[in-house]
């Protein structure tokens, strides 16, 4: 025990030393540490992992959405020091506090100190921004999640940009937060980490013990209610048909005639004009005679032209399908090149891949036209 701490708390507690008071309720502490862990998972999968880890990143996002919703509600119905109303957000107070830090004698504050309170506001704003922009990006770019029905690709792409900016913002805010915690514990000897774990702080004056167990039950009930409501509404919304993608009834003759030689390309990968040109030039189809009888050509062409890139609002249709190239090849589209530049030529030459136009070798869902990040599966090196 720190000898400097005042022993002025009148009530004696048999379990706990008298000079400490319970400040952080259990729901708040659980929220803090679970959220910290989830943010680490989201950060690692978002910043470092390749695209196909998106599944775990999204799960972390859903967990964050639930935790944040709980925290925002708890900020109004929680115990005294969890409530936003108790946050010392007055700018004058913040100025005084920062000055006291510069003079290296900040006071121990029961609840949050002004800098910590502002830190929490910034962290919460960044996290809410990340969750919302992430959901829009997931719905718009991947046609997945609760917002798939409501968001188009371009909105999703814009949200993706915001998501990245917010992620760097959060990373910076977390760094400042950790620096603040380091300063509090190491320089000013305020055991704030221990307080966030056991919930007790040594107050400078009189502090009110927050309720003991009733609040834990209440917090659990709130959490269950919020999680349940989010789960039900999320699953319901995710069940709606996505705005940018639809399943197609692919004619068998398309699969058998075109799919004999190459991947069964989705109609959304080229424009109607490109498909027409291609079907009119099958006698010299990229260096081979791929001619078909007239009836087969007309069935296949109708299918391709009816479902051309303009009729889909997916990433593949928007960024590759709608871009015309003189060769008609999608591999000549700048976006295709930039998205595949990290892949070594040797990968394309693997027996299991064969060529750059064999989308299905890595995009296991290419035939559907979705090209989900989570469906990317790079082939292992061919066995000798």
């Amino acid at each position: 025990m720190d000898a400097r701490l005042p022993l002025n708390s009148p009530q004696m507690d048999t379990e706990q030393p008298a000079q400490t008071a319970r400040v952080w309720d259990l729901p708040l502490r659980l929220f803090h540490w679970v959220m910290a862990a989830v943010v680490v998972v989201a950060g690692v999968t978002g910043f470092l992992a390749p695209e196909w880890w998106l599944g775990l990143h999204v799960i972390a996002g859903y967990a964050l959405a639930t935790l944040l919703s709980f925290r925002l509600v708890w900020g109004f119905v929680g115990t005294r020091y969890s409530r936003f109303g108790s946050f010392p957000l007055a700018l004058g107070g913040l100025y005084e506090h920062l000055r006291s830090i510069v003079r290296t004698n900040p006071k121990t504050v029961i609840g949050h100190n002004p800098a910590g309170a502002w830190m929490i506001i910034i962290l919460l704003v960044a996290l809410v921004t990340l969750v919302v922009s992430g959901l829009i990006a997931l719905g718009g770019q991947e046609n997945h999640g609760p917002l798939a029905a409501a968001t188009g690709f371009l909105a999703g792409e814009m949200a993706g940009e915001i998501h990245q900016i917010a992620a760097w913002g959060l990373a910076a805010a977390v760094a400042v937060h950790l620096l603040g915690v380091f300063a509090e514990t190491r320089i000013f000897r305020h055991p704030v980490v221990a307080a966030m774990m056991i919930g007790r702080k040594a107050p400078p004056g009189s502090a009110v013990n927050v309720p003991r167990s009733a609040h834990t039950v209440r917090g659990a009930a709130w959490f269950m209610a919020i999680a349940g409501a989010l789960l039900v509404s999320g699953i319901t919304l995710a069940g709606l048909p996505s705005s940018g993608w639809r399943a197609l009834d692919t004619p068998a003759v398309y699969v058998s005639e075109c799919g004999d030689c190459h991947a069964v390309y989705h109609p959304s990968l080229r424009t109607g004009e490109a498909w027409r040109s291609m079907m009119n030039g099958l006698e010299n189809h990229y260096g081979e005679d791929a001619s078909l009888d007239e009836q087969t050509v007309s069935i296949i062409q109708a299918y391709l032209v009816d479902n051309h890139a303009g009729t889909f609002d997916t990433e593949a249709a928007q960024r590759i399908g709608r871009v015309e190239t003189p060769s008609l090849r999608m591999t000549d589209v700048a976006y295709w090149k930039s998205r595949h530049q990290g892949i070594a030529e040797s990968v394309f030459r693997l027996n299991s891949v064969g060529s750059k136009v064999n989308c299905t070798a890595c995009h296991t869902d290419a035939a559907s036209g979705r090209f989900d990040d989570v469906k990317i599966h790079l082939p292992e090196k061919d066995k000798p």
Binding site: H262, N284, Y286, G287, S291, L292, G354, S355, N358
Partner: protein
Amino acid sequence: MSFFAIARLLIVAAVAGGSAWSANGPANAAMMQDNIERYRVEAKALGQGFEAFSAERGRILFSSSPAAGKPDTPSCTACHTTDPAGVGQTRAGKEIAPMALSRTPDRYIDVKKIEKWFRRNCNSVLGRECTPLEKGDFLTFMASQ
């Protein structure tokens, strides 16, 4: 009983003895012989002294590199591999089932399909249509593999 019917019976009997064949093997082989017979009729009709199809001429056609068609397809073996029993690969990366009848028993049963691939691939590799003699030789070679 015609010569053709006897030949067909013999093949069915020979094939039925093979253990590696699928249940439809004999029927498939017979249908392939129907198609070879069609080319025999066409070859005879040309009146260029046709005697019989030759698996050896078929092998030479399959293995040669005429490089007379499109530059990316100088020979059959460029995609089908030099081994008729081998698994080939299209230039776009798709697997091609072996050409040998023993490995892909249902390959030569559909006239339209056979004609489509002769039309396309003879043009791609040879730069011209194949003659009925070449088609019959080719199928006779693949039937023996």
